[in-house]
């Protein structure tokens, strides 16, 4: 018998949620392509696109990879290197 994960943070998402998330991902991607072709200034472009990409990545991680409904430890395992490498990347760029 499949061992269901005990103590989930939240109940698992259903198909409707998956489709809604996909819609969100598609819309954001469309917005990104649109904004890219329009040609914004660098100081606008960089934060907007970075935030949009983090939103997309979080949607995939939280819903498609079930981080939202699985044991919190998995989230910690994923977030820790992300934070670390963000700091490293910033250091590599500015220094």
């Amino acid at each position: 018998m499949q061992m269901e994960t005990q103590s989930p943070s939240k109940p698992r998402a259903g198909i409707r949620t998956y489709l809604l998330v996909f819609l969100g991902l598609a819309v954001i991607t469309g917005v990104e392509i649109g904004l890219a072709t329009v040609g914004l200034s660098r100081s606008l472009r960089v934060p907007i696109f970075i935030v949009l990409s983090l939103v997309k990545a979080s949607l995939v991680a939280a819903f498609y990879m079930h981080l939202r409904s699985d044991a919190r430890f998995f989230t910690a395992i994923f977030i820790t290197p992300v934070v670390l490498i963000l700091a490293v990347a910033v250091l590599f760029v500015i220094a």
């Binding site: 018998m1 998956y18 996909f22 960089v46 990409s53 997309k56 990545a57 991680a61 490293v88």
Partner: protein
């Protein structure tokens, strides 16, 4: 990838994990993905180090719209993976087979799209050794492409097992673990697309 069958014996061995809500195969995969974050992060840090400190006019040759469409293809493949998982979780074997097939086709389409982008740049004389831009672009996207290729092979082997009725409503962990890998590769592309093409 072998399917974890749940004998009482094995359930006993991993009892501590069950109490914590941690399946050992999923835990192992998440730990591996953490290391992959650091690996791609290392390559990305190198890429950004050069992009910011040595910007190149060659980046204007990048085709945002076409590769943006390719991004859409890969995002769709993540949807098909998770719909496939949802299918087998309700015992729908044929649904799983269909969605896995769609994933393989979409993943292949993504690689074809990437190959097209590579060929376009190559025609403009940009290669691994022609310039620092070429070196960093092809290395970063090349390693991502390799990861997609590995994912396609894994999807194929998952499909073969699904065709042999290897998964069921009570036993689908292998599909889920494959899904974790595939979604991760998708997330990496989301970041790469932004850093290479958008900003």
């Amino acid at each position: 990838m072998r399917e974890a069958t749940r004998s009482a014996d094995e359930a006993g061995m991993f009892a501590a994990g069950v109490r914590l809500g941690l399946d050992h195969l999923k835990l192992g995969m998440w730990l591996f993905l953490a290391s992959e974050v650091m690996f791609f992060g290392g390559l990305i840090s190198a890429f950004m180090h050069f992009k910011v400190n040595n910007p190149s006019p060659e980046s204007s040759l990048l085709d945002v719209v076409l590769v943006g469409l390719n991004t859409f293809v890969l995002l769709t493949s993540s949807l098909t993976v998770v719909l496939g998982l949802a299918a087998i979780q309700r015992g729908d074997r044929r649904g799983l087979i269909g969605y896995l097939t769609a994933t393989i086709l979409l993943g292949t389409a993504f690689l074809v799209g990437q190959g097209n982008e590579f060929a376009t740049l190559y025609r403009h004389g940009i290669t691994l050794s022609s310039s620092l831009f070429g070196s960093s672009f092809f290395t970063l996207t090349g390693f991502h492409g390799l990861h997609v290729l590995v994912g396609i092979c894994w999807a194929l082997s998952t499909l073969v097992k699904a065709l042999r009725a290897g998964y069921s409503q009570g036993s689908y962990l292998g599909v889920e673990v494959f899904g974790l890998y595939w979604h991760f590769v998708d997330i990496v592309w989301i970041i790469l697309f932004t850093l290479i093409y958008l900003i």
